[in-house]
Structure formats: structure tokens, C-alpha cells
């Protein structure tokens, strides 16, 4: 590995960012378990569908963010001067978080009725 003294390694910026992504994915995995726990008494086996979707999303995020870390590492060490990965994963994360939140709004709104 080259680039041991390059600025980006000061403060382990890339590692901290990668860990932040991983933390988010783990929070989502925990959320899928919570969905399973809370949903089961209400809709029974159907709870597996939302819990499975969230768990699959979390696993995908783990894999994709790790690939993003590897490709960023390559970009920063290969000396090609190429910029970091773009905002596609960021946009996808926002859309997923929004979807989750809207589902939560519906769940809470259902308490009114």
C-alpha cells in the first residue's frame, strides 16, 4: 500500500467514513429485528415481509459501502488523481430513509383511527 503519508490518512478519514456507513447498516439490521418484534403480534407472519426488506437493504448497504470504501481507497492511493465516488449511494440512502419514515408516519397515523 502506498500513500501512508498522504493528507487523507491523517485522522483516518476514509476509515471513519466507512465505519459511519457500517454503523448505519447495523442500525437498520437492528431496526428490522424491532419491526419483527413489534409487528408479529399485529399481523403475524406477514411481518417477515417488511422485516426482510429492511434486513436485505441493510445487508446490501453493508456490501455496497464496503465496495465504496475499497474503490475510494484505490482512488486515493493509485495516484491517478481521480475524484472520490459520487452521490448515487447517498441519494439511495436518502430515498430508503424517506420510505421508512413515511411507513412510520402511516403506522402512527393508524393510531388515530
Amino acid at each position: 500500500m502506498t500513500g501512508g503519508d498522504e493528507p487523507v490518512w491523517t485522522g483516518l478519514q476514509l476509515e471513519r467514513t466507512s465505519l459511519a456507513w457500517r454503523r448505519l447498516a447495523l442500525a437498520l439490521l437492528a431496526l428490522s429485528l424491532a419491526v419483527l418484534r413489534l409487528g408479529w403480534p399485529v399481523i403475524g407472519g406477514w411481518t417477515l415481509v417488511p422485516a426482510g426488506v429492511v434486513a436485505a437493504g441493510a445487508t446490501t448497504l453493508l456490501v455496497v459501502s464496503h465496495r465504496r470504501y475499497l474503490s475510494s481507497h484505490h482512488l486515493l492511493t493509485s495516484g491517478t488523481g481521480l475524484p472520490l465516488p459520487d452521490g448515487r449511494l447517498i441519494a439511495l440512502t436518502v430515498l430508503s430513509a424517506m420510505t421508512l419514515a413515511v411507513v412510520a408516519v402511516v403506522v402512527v397515523a393508524a393510531q388515530f383511527t
Binding site: P7, T10, A27, L31, H74, V94, A101, V105, Q111
Partner: protein
């Protein structure tokens, strides 16, 4: 497309270099410093264009820090949504109407957080690319007020039988 130094970024997935037109080899390549930042910006389409279409590439450390701030906002959103749903789901011993109000506010804040995460990220990244001062904190003061209101609602809900 191979670069002058022999590296081939497009051979790696996720690091695609796309030309908007087929590039005939007319001997121009040796006249262009292919690792030059301007050439990279010219040939590599990055999403969203409203951010990456402007300015020059900032220090990678700052982009990564911006990404972590984004992730912090998304995590805050998830936490708010979880607490909002949890308040209702676990039927916490708080006056029901006030509990529902707190729950609704939390879930709404949890919906707004990812929106703030996205626009905050894009605004900061653009500002850094254009070497402008960073923008203000966006929806952060609103979130603080909202959390204060939620706190008051829950305290009242605990006091009122």
C-alpha cells in the same frame, strides 16, 4: 479507456469513466495530460450534476467529513422515527393524547431529517467545490425547537393522570 500512466480506471466497477462521445484515437491523447483534474472532470459524469458539475474537486478529507455529517443526519432521522413509533407501540405510561402528539412530531421530524441530510450534503459539497464559505446549519434549529416541544409534551403527559 487507459490513462497515460497506464492505469485503467474504467476497468474497475464503480469507477466508470465515460466519454459523452466515442473517442477516436487521433493522436491527441499524448498532447493532453490525462491525469489533469480538468480532464477528469470533463470525462467523468458524476451524480448529481448539480453538485459535481460545478467548481473543482475539494480536498478528499473534507468531502469525506461532509459524507459523515450526511450519515449523522440520516441516523438522527432513523432514531427519531424509532422513538416516535416506540412511544406508541410500547404504550409508554404517558397521557395518551399527549403521547400521540409527541409521537407524531417525532415521526414528522424523522421524515424531515433525511431531506435535510440530502440538501445539506449537496449545499456543503457545492460550496466546497466553489471555494465558498460553508452554508448555515439548515434545519438544525428547527429540530432543536421540535425536540424541546416533544420533551415538554412528554413531561406534561407524565404529570397529567
Amino acid at each position: 479507456m487507459a490513462y497515460a500512466d497506464g492505469s485503467n480506471p474504467s476497468a474497475r466497477k464503480g469507477v466508470g469513466v465515460r466519454l459523452p462521445f466515442p473517442a477516436p484515437d487521433i493522436g491527441l491523447r499524448r498532447h493532453v495530460r490525462l491525469t489533469d483534474q480538468r480532464f477528469v472532470d470533463m470525462t467523468r459524469r458524476r451524480f448529481p450534476d448539480s453538485v459535481y458539475g460545478r467548481g473543482t474537486e475539494p480536498d478528499a478529507r473534507f468531502s469525506l467529513a461532509n459524507e459523515r455529517t450526511f450519515l449523522a443526519w440520516v441516523s438522527v432521522g432513523l432514531a427519531l422515527v424509532s422513538v416516535g413509533v416506540g412511544l406508541q407501540a410500547f404504550a409508554v405510561n404517558v397521557q395518551p393524547a399527549l403521547r400521540l402528539a409527541a409521537s407524531v412530531l417525532l415521526v414528522i421530524a424523522g421524515t424531515a431529517s433525511p431531506v435535510q441530510a440530502w440538501f445539506g450534503w449537496a449545499r456543503v459539497e457545492t460550496a466546497m467545490r466553489e471555494q465558498r464559505p460553508l452554508p448555515s446549519v439548515g434545519m438544525a434549529p428547527l429540530l432543536v425547537i421540535l425536540l424541546g416541544v416533544v420533551g415538554v409534551l412528554i413531561v406534561l403527559g407524565l404529570l397529567i393522570p
